[in-house]
């Protein structure tokens, strides 16, 4: 973990790359937001299934 110009986190490159080489292009950013939205919402379905089946939901 590098300290870069007063920031905490991975060193920033000057191009459009984000952390771990993730592009910051608008389409890719929107794609990640959409994916996270779907993931977070459909977690409710999986949570209900796990609760109903008595499966462990943590650890």
């Amino acid at each position: 973990m590098a300290v870069n110009a007063g920031r905490i986190g991975p060193a920033r490159r000057e191009d459009e790359a984000g952390p771990m080489g993730v592009s910051r292009g608008p389409v890719r950013r929107a794609a990640r937001v959409a994916y996270t939205f779907v993931l977070m919402n459909y977690a409710a379905v999986e949570a209900l299934v796990r609760v109903c089946l008595g499966r462990q939901v943590w650890r």
């Binding site: 973990m1 952390p19 796990r50 943590w58």
Partner: protein, 379 residues
């Protein structure tokens, strides 16, 4: 089928846009801030018991204890670590703090059991709950305690600040931007729910509760930070959102970790409905509208998304509005699939997971946040 389509669409729109709009209006028309004392006041601060439930957190606890010992709090303060069957030398590590903290060792039984043991040993008027990983801003405990002069206040939740909220690109997480957006939205809701009457729970990393309102948690409770405060709300008390009480943390490294966290949270919400069914009864739950709109809304919106998609597929050939709705949804899910592919391709394999690394990261985030906190600037 049209009923399913419109019902699903309205439900999704209400949960994510209608309810926040209602809350904004409600808080402006009938919002009532809690009475709180100034942090500069010197006398009569309540006694505090800080309780940390921890299992195998020997790497993180020393830094955490130091962080708590540096708190600017003028009243009596005790620190209790409830070790949930730790086998990593937690007791040895904490022996260096033997004169300043109390270690309660319990057989492994989960966080709820450890918290119950910690509270049973606590003597403070106010209980403050914290986790091993995060760090508090220097006035966090005083800020939480400042709300309890108001007898209507049963608890207070602080503000958890994730590193990705300021600059997602520095967060070392593949989903830092998305989680940062979500977390800011969630805190906005909590802030406004607090103004109307009460938040619907707290943040596990930083919250306080009157000792007199504590009831032992069921052993398997997943969300102590929702169950314990909502029990206080059912007894007529408020839980307030205290922005001056800040805790700092690092966002999860990738989507898989966020998914696991979210599944646990939502399963906990189902569990609480079984534990406290009074939450579903309007005249027993003083924040019923908020609870149904926010907490239950999040549980049913996934089903509404499914209903919307299926009904759109069936109705698309019949009328053009349904065709448009289907195209928009397919576009959205296509975008999400692209996001999933990006996640698989670029998920950080070396994401911070070790105790040492996260300790240093949380310290770094806290240290970075402190000057801005004391300067009165919101991060």
């Amino acid at each position: 089928m049209e009923t399913i389509f419109w019902g699903s669409l309205l439900l999704i729109a209400y949960v994510y846009a209608g309810y926040p709009a209602l809350l904004l209006l409600w808080s402006r028309v009938a919002g009532e801030p809690a009475r709180r004392r100034a942090l500069s006041e010197t006398s009569d601060w309540p006694s505090i018991s800080v309780i940390i439930a921890a299992r195998n957190e020997a790497a993180r606890l020393p830094g955490r204890i130091e962080n708590l010992l540096e708190q600017h709090y003028r009243g009596p303060l005790e620190i209790i670590v409830a070790s949930d069957g730790s086998t990593d030398g937690t007791a040895t590590v904490l022996s260096a703090f033997a004169d300043r903290i109390r270690l309660i060792e319990v057989a492994p039984g989960g966080k709820a059991t450890a918290l119950n043991a910690g509270v049973a040993a606590a003597s403070g008027e106010i209980l403050v709950f914290a986790d091993a990983r995060q760090r508090f801003g220097p006035h966090a405990i005083a800020a939480l305690a400042s709300n309890f002069d108001d007898p209507r206040v049963g608890g207070a939740t602080g503000e958890l600040i994730l590193n990705c909220e300021r600059d997602w690109a520095d967060s070392a997480s593949s989903i830092g931007e998305s989680v940062g957006l979500y977390w800011r939205y969630e805190k906005w809701l909590r802030r406004h729910e607090s103004r109307v009457r009460s938040t619907l729970g707290t943040t596990g990393a930083i919250y306080a509760l009157r000792h007199s309102l504590w009831r032992p948690l069921p052993p398997g409770a997943l969300l102590d930070d929702v169950l314990a405060p909502m029990r206080a709300v059912l007894r007529g008390y408020r839980i307030v959102f205290e922005e001056r009480a800040q805790a700092f943390d690092w966002v999860v490294p990738n989507a898989a970790a966020e998914s696991a966290r979210k599944i646990r949270t939502l399963a906990g919400n189902y569990q609480i409905l079984v534990e406290e069914p009074a939450l579903l009864v309007p005249f027993l739950n003083p924040v019923w509208v908020q609870y149904v709109s926010h907490k239950l809304g999040r549980l049913v919106v996934a089903w509404a998304l499914l209903g919307l998609l299926i009904s759109s597929i069936v109705l698309a050939p019949r009328r053009w509005p349904f065709t448009v709705a289907l195209i928009l949804q397919l576009g959205f899910y296509g975008l999400a699939a692209f996001g999933a592919w990006l996640e698989c391709k670029g998920s950080p394999a070396s994401a911070p997971t070790s105790g040492d690394t996260q300790v240093s990261q949380a310290d770094a985030v806290a240290a970075e946040g402190v000057p801005q906190t004391t300067g009165g600037t919101r991060l």
